[in-house]
Amino acid sequence: METALTNTEPAVEPRTEMEKEVEALLADYDKTPEDLIMVLQDIQGKYNWLPREALEYVSRRLDVPLAQIYHIGTFYKAFSLEPRGKHILQICMGTACHVRGAMRIAEEYERQFGLKLGKTSEDGLITFERVNCLGACAIGPIVVVDGEYKGNMTVNRANAIIKRIRREDSKEAGDA
């Protein structure tokens, strides 16, 4: 290659819609391999998961092999290589929440609603995940619904959350 690739000019012009969106996310970075984890976090923040198309573009843009991106994507908990549900439901499994009964809530979610930790419901509505301590132990157990913390959870109140999400969704479907 005659001209060396520099980090300031796009090595590859973004062509597709998604590539353009990813290029916009990259604007804040120096575009070195060192930025990889944070870039992936931004992509995950935008799409709720890491689509392959976006990763391929990042691979070319930051000059990191796709295999290495896959390594990062599977090592760190924050990333998902599969599409996640419309709603993200997280249960805090910090020690304080655990001793206050978070596990019973998780068990009930699986038993009553078929929600498995780390999985998305078959209808694609809810992804159920565990997080390791949100730093709000005083109000544990905590369930986070799409980023909103719901503290002092009980089995009954936690069940009501799922019922509400499902009710609102079927209402939306009815309206549409």
């Binding site: 760190y76 924050a78 709000a136 109000i139 913390y149 503290g151």
Partner: protein, 621 residues
Amino acid sequence: MPRITSVEQLKAHQQKAKQELDNYPVMVSLCHGTACCAIGAREVAAAFEKELKADQSVKFIRSGCHGFCEVGPLVVVRPAGVVYQRVKPSDVAEIVERTVGKGEIIDRLLYRPGDNGKVYSKEDEIPFYAKQSKVVLALNSHIDPFSIDDYLASGGYSALAKALFEMTPDEVLKEVMDAKLRGRGGGGFEAGWKWKFCKEAHPELPHHIVCNADEGDPGAFMDESILEGNPHSVIEGMIIGAYAINGADGFIYIRNEYPLALKTFHNALKQAREYGFLGENILGSGMNFDIKISRGGGAFVCGESSALFRSLEGKVGEPRAKYIHSVERGYHDEPTNLNNVETWANVPQIIKKGAAWFTNIGTPDSPGTKVFSLVGKIENTGLIEVPMGITLREIIFDIGGGIKGGKAFKAVQTGGPSGGCLPESCLDLPVDFDKLTDAGSMMGSGGMIVMDEQTCVVDVARYFIDFLIEESCGKCLPCREGLRQMSVILHRICEGKGQPEDVDNLEKLGTTIRDCSLCALGGSAPNPVLSTIKYFRDEYLAHINEKKCPGGICTALIEYFIQPELCNGCSTCEKVCPSDAIHPVAGQKREKGELRIIDTVKCVKCGACIEVCPTDAIIRR
């Protein structure tokens, strides 16, 4: 704001900022930490801003964590120091009218512990605060974390000016060494020595300054609260550290699970750059230094130094063998000094007030204070800062108010997944780095999880091992495979299928993993099991021999039962039962209906009935 380029300008600006604050006759401080926000502080803040919009005489701040999370959202009205607890948006108009306007105290919003009729109106009278001594958290409820001027008004960045213009780098280093400041992240290694080793390593290479804010211990939120409440103290500490060891650049590695801390710190960095505390020619001294934020990807192992550096480099966070010291070969294999948030936040205070002041607090071997998050089955959940050497009993019973609901104390877990459970007999231990380690636990970063009689220590041990299996990077065999085998045994015990030799095998496995693992994660991973076997062997044996869970937690070993003498027949439990396992007993009249019983065959042991029973008639046994 033009950059501050000399000490004189800094002093003038501090004076001006202080004057501006003093001009407000009243200040209202609302706790806007993560926990209070989760229970409505944002709505309360909006209500205050609406009420006070026209009033220029009141300073309203959304501050960092005040500490007393149990009764949040908290509001303090100064200078009187009146504390209001569990404030709702509907209370705000009255607070503004009566307390802010007329100086009256609103009785119903005051803190009332228990039924003994005691009422507390002032911050310093509340027992939760009375035994604390705040150094790192001192400014938390007094300043707006998004305002660098508030920090300057309290004398912020004076320590930096003192270091840069009145001390040589070696004098700064000596001061920190004399203070015997030990690493607050868990290791307890003396920061001064670490700085010295780093400084002396490879003079031909650039040196890096890193702040570890990857607070991964579940049940710990000390560093989060410091970053959210007083970010500039950490920045100031890091700049002083860079001056002492000739640091070229700085990094802070923050968990992505702390969105508010990230936002606060990001803003603080921006302000520090605008004011000239970061960037080129800091305060006109000729020193250049800046700090970059790196967000963690949610891997517990990245709190380990060598794994953290790999993650900073954009790679997978796998630790390496300990004989390569990170002070010599850290970030990009260059000398790197890593300290955690609380350690850095202590540095400006030590420089400002001197090593002698610092060593006067705490114990000779562990001077200073320590921040703990006091959580679990405790009456007063919250964030506390206490002098080292205080006993566990004072923390749990005097500050923490004892066990929730008057139940009996069983154990306190310190040190996160690397620590251990200590029983009642250890409660009079003074809390410092060495004493807790001697007892089989460790200080750790400061999570303190209190457990009552209705906690199962085997279940807690299993919880930590399962946590660590998830978080083990998988590089070395003892940790990767050994923990799995421990988990198999622990699950078996909790399910009532334990074998007589299981406890001995757990001990053997545990010591092997401890001695043979590559990094500190594996090396300390068996602690939760080994310490619970040491102090609670009986409970393990009860699970194995009698098929009983004394804490009433392990689902396979318990049954739900309605005590006939307490049931009032209200049928609330029957309505919430998801498996139709609760039925009335014909002919057994109670005040509100017929007595209920639980069909143990149908019961799925979800606990929904216990939560709703108004008379606490349902028990697990």
